[in-house]
């Protein structure tokens, strides 16, 4: 649905995007994850045809977003970062206006209902809360009944409840058959929503995998912890295969490592015939994987 090959874009001397490639399959929620200034927004702006790439190939539904800008705007809806509406424009007027831009717009009333905007149709944009503004901007991205949407920094500045609601909404967008390209720097959001994630850092893709795959490929995918007074020698722990680090915190010993580390740890307990009290084995989070991939 969306194809990006070796995309490059520089602003003067600064290379914002330096050889990014990925492709988004139809019906997928694809995440672009990375720190601020990593080149995420520039990448999606090239996808939306708002910037002209210096080099590389971008296709949306087989169309070039620059040469075929007009047609791309009909298949791709966008919700842009730092993009507002006229302060005194009402929700209803915004939906009506944007609907006139498309030949076959989505049903505005149903859309407003789905996005929880029906109670605010007569409210002006400037008076909406952050979450309401964001929902309206998502509605405008969907009003042309697109096959794919770009959602850039969707939940920045939203409170936890509004954030959860927005996530449910993204899932419902996909359930309606729309492909989603989601830009975020919120791990929890990427882990919860995305089928696959491209981690971008310094203008390059540093990893591209499913959330579970990204976590699994880090050096510290598993975390073993137990009470510090358990009769185990830290030197033995550090010697476990794949063990990355042995630390103590809050009266507990914490060993990070891989699946192999866990297997060897269990064997060690059996061999020594000891018990690790309060033993917990947990998976690393995408946070850990992210820090590992963007360091």
């Amino acid at each position: 649905m969306i194809e990006v090959r070796d995309l490059r874009k520089a602003y003067g001397e600064r290379k914002a995007v330096d050889g990014v490639s990925f492709s988004v399959e139809e019906g997928e929620i694809f995440g672009i994850l990375g720190p601020n200034g990593a080149g995420k927004t520039t990448t999606v702006e090239c996808v939306a045809g708002l910037r002209v790439p210096d080099a590389g190939r971008v296709r949306v539904a087989g169309l070039d977003p620059v040469a075929d800008h007009d047609r791309v705007t009909r298949v791709l809806g966008v919700q842009l970062q730092r993009s507002e509406l006229q302060a005194k424009l009402t929700v209803r007027e915004a939906l009506e206006l944007y609907a006139t831009f498309y030949e076959r717009p989505a049903d505005r009333r149903a859309l407003a209902g789905r996005l929880g905007l029906d109670a605010h149709l007569d409210a002006r944009f400037g008076t909406l809360s952050g979450g309401q503004k964001q929902r309206l901007l998502i509605a405008l991205a969907l009003v042309g009944d697109p096959r794919a949407v770009v959602l850039d920094e969707l939940t920045t500045g939203l409170d936890p409840r509004a954030r959860r609601d927005t996530w449910d909404l993204v899932e419902s967008i996909r359930a309606n058959g729309v492909t989603v390209l989601l830009v975020t720097h919120v791990m929890e959001e990427a882990q919860r929503l995305c089928d696959r994630i491209a981690v971008i850092d310094g203008g390059r893709v540093t990893a591209l995998d499913t959330p579970a795959g990204l976590i699994g490929r880090t050096a510290t995918a598993r975390v073993i912890s137990f009470a510090a007074d358990s009769p185990l020698d830290p030197a033995d722990l550090a010697a476990l295969p794949g063990a990355a680090e042995v630390t103590g915190r809050d009266g507990r010993t914490v060993v990070t490592g891989t699946d192999a580390t866990v297997d060897a740890f269990v064997s060690l307990l059996a061999r020594r015939a000891v018990t690790a009290r309060g033993l917990r084995i947990t998976d690393a989070t995408l946070d850990d994987a992210y820090l590992d991939l963007t360091s």
Binding site: L80, R82, E84, Q86, K88, L89, E96, F101, Y102, G144
Partner: protein, 253 residues
Amino acid sequence: MASTPAPASAARAVLRTEARLFAREPAALFWVMVSPTVLLVILGLIPSMREVSAGLGGRRAIDLYVPVAVLFALIMAGLQAMPPVLAGYRERGILRRMSATPVRPAALLTAQFVLHAVAALLSALLVTAVGRTAFGVALPAHLPGHLVALVLATAGGLALGATVCAVSRTQKAATAVGTAVFFPTMFTAGVWVPVQAMPDTLRRIVEYTPYGAASRALDEAARGGWPGPVALGVMVLWTAVLAGTAVRRFRWE
């Protein structure tokens, strides 16, 4: 996949929406549509303004102030009201958002030009009507000439405002630059001293500025002839230069 351009109704919808938003700005409406007439009425209430003066070729000062108030309306629309709106649309990503739809963001700018032009012309009409009914100021003796001058002056005023917006990076800067340009244009439009009452040398210089030329063209039409080629030529030239500068320098974001 359809490849036809955006429905023609889209441009009309943008204009309709912008007109609604325009009507929601009471301050801009007052300064563009009402304040020129208020200025005229205040001046007209001063008795000496209504006395025939030999220095003004047998006319009264209030006769000269009707075209001044007309130009004041154009200045208010083009220079004070419009630049902050356009710069704000750019600064707040409204133009960029529209770039991602089948409609070009130029539709928004066009709508703003049209609305400010219409508002300024309605204001000019109000000034002329009040001048006629309240102070007995004669209507322009050469109506086609007057209309030509008025349309050209409006185009020049909007081009000046667009240039202000093009050279300003932010809404704040657009307001500041607009205000800095505002006072010289007020002077050259004759708000303090009508151009026709200025000393000869000063008048000749002022008549090469956009509003000075407009003032001369309106005055020539008021006295019953077509505006002369010099005044019209100066206006056309200024409009072309300013519009060209605005187009070249304007950044969409």
